[in-house]
Amino acid sequence: MSDLVFLASICAAAAGAGVLGAILGLGGGILLVPILTLFFGVSLPYAMGASIISVIASSCGAAAGHLRSGLANIRLGLFLALDTVAGAIIGASLAGILSERLLELLFGLALSYSAFTTMRQLQLEVPALETADRLALRFALSGVYYDRVLQREVEYRAARVRGGASVMFAAGLLSGLLGIGSGAFKVLAMDYVMRLPMKVSTATSNFMIGITAAASAGVYFGRGDIHPVIATPVAVGVLAGSYAGTRLIASLRNTTVRKLFLPVVLYLALSMLLRGFGIWR
């Protein structure tokens, strides 16, 4: 494979990851790392470094579009990012003290339950507006967006804010301890715990993942894991793909986004359980 074809192929794969990432609120690492290692022969440290680039590029491209369209809620994103970043800092300092396998097992079980609840509410387009949560009122965790599919404005307000913030903290803890992305946990916390519309959850997650990834990006850069020649096609592809993804999500139903999200939760639940039982690393 010539250099140009190699770089163009990585760029195309990254664009695909960017489109899906923008719709599902993920950074694309879950797709990009296996593609880079299995199909392009990139070593794992460079693939992980490319994954951080992918998360931040995806967040820049998608969050810019989502913030403009009103799908991403900046106050909600900042409020919850505080919990995730605090969790990540504490998690990184607890590495080696807490049992990683026990945590993986616990998260695997929690994700399995989340997959079950996601399946149960697959047909739920927009959750009913719940009674006001004290923290949601205090921190203005509510909003409204125009849904092109439903052809009406959708009003939403965060419920069970303490529960959502706790899941965010736990997701950050896991990120800091295990060095994995936590976009899926963020979406689940907003969609299932805080009862927000699915598209608002994925769009706000897109804004948040850039902040969480930037908190650990220095580690990857300092270790020399971000190779410039691999980072370039990844950044270009993901940025273009995520921007396109923000256009696409406007024409999708919340139920469609949830159906696309379900396989990701199932995959994560299975991989966490297998890691927890020591079957797969």
Binding site: F6, L67, P228, V229
Partner: protein, 130 residues
């Protein structure tokens, strides 16, 4: 301008400047290689990380700044400048949010933005300072 619009504009601009720098560096690298200069052998680069850090990678900001001051600048340094710009873009987004919330008199979110921004900047400076 509302916080959402300001942050959206900054994230988009940051992303665009980053990829422009990266692509400029990559094209310059190819031109150098075609003219018989230093070439990055991609198959060697992608496979060899396990054996140790590649010589083509910058790992600190002072090291990068020194390479950018040389003339002509090292193409890999130009790409890396784009990478650093991308890594800093979320922090710039938080700075824009801070400015917008201060202007709107939203003290709670101005504080939240500032705390997150300081946490990210501290982590970055601590790890990449040299």
């Amino acid at each position: 301008m509302r916080a959402e619009a300001l942050v959206a504009r900054l994230l988009f601009l940051g992303g665009m400047i980053s990829v422009t720098l990266m692509l400029t560096g990559l094209v310059t690298l190819e031109i150098h290689a075609a003219a018989g200069g230093h070439a990055v052998e991609i198959p060697r680069v992608v496979e060899n990380r396990e054996a140790g850090r590649s010589a083509d990678v910058f790992v600190s900001l002072p090291q990068l700044a020194r390479a950018l001051r040389r003339w002509p600048p090292d193409p890999i340094a130009i790409i890396t400048a784009g990478v650093v710009m991308l890594l800093l873009t979320p922090t710039l987004g938080l700075a824009a949010a801070f400015v917008a919330f201060v202007r709107d008199g939203d003290r709670a979110y101005a504080v939240i933005s500032a705390v997150l921004m300081v946490a990210l900047l501290f982590g970055f400076a601590f790890r990449l300072g040299g």
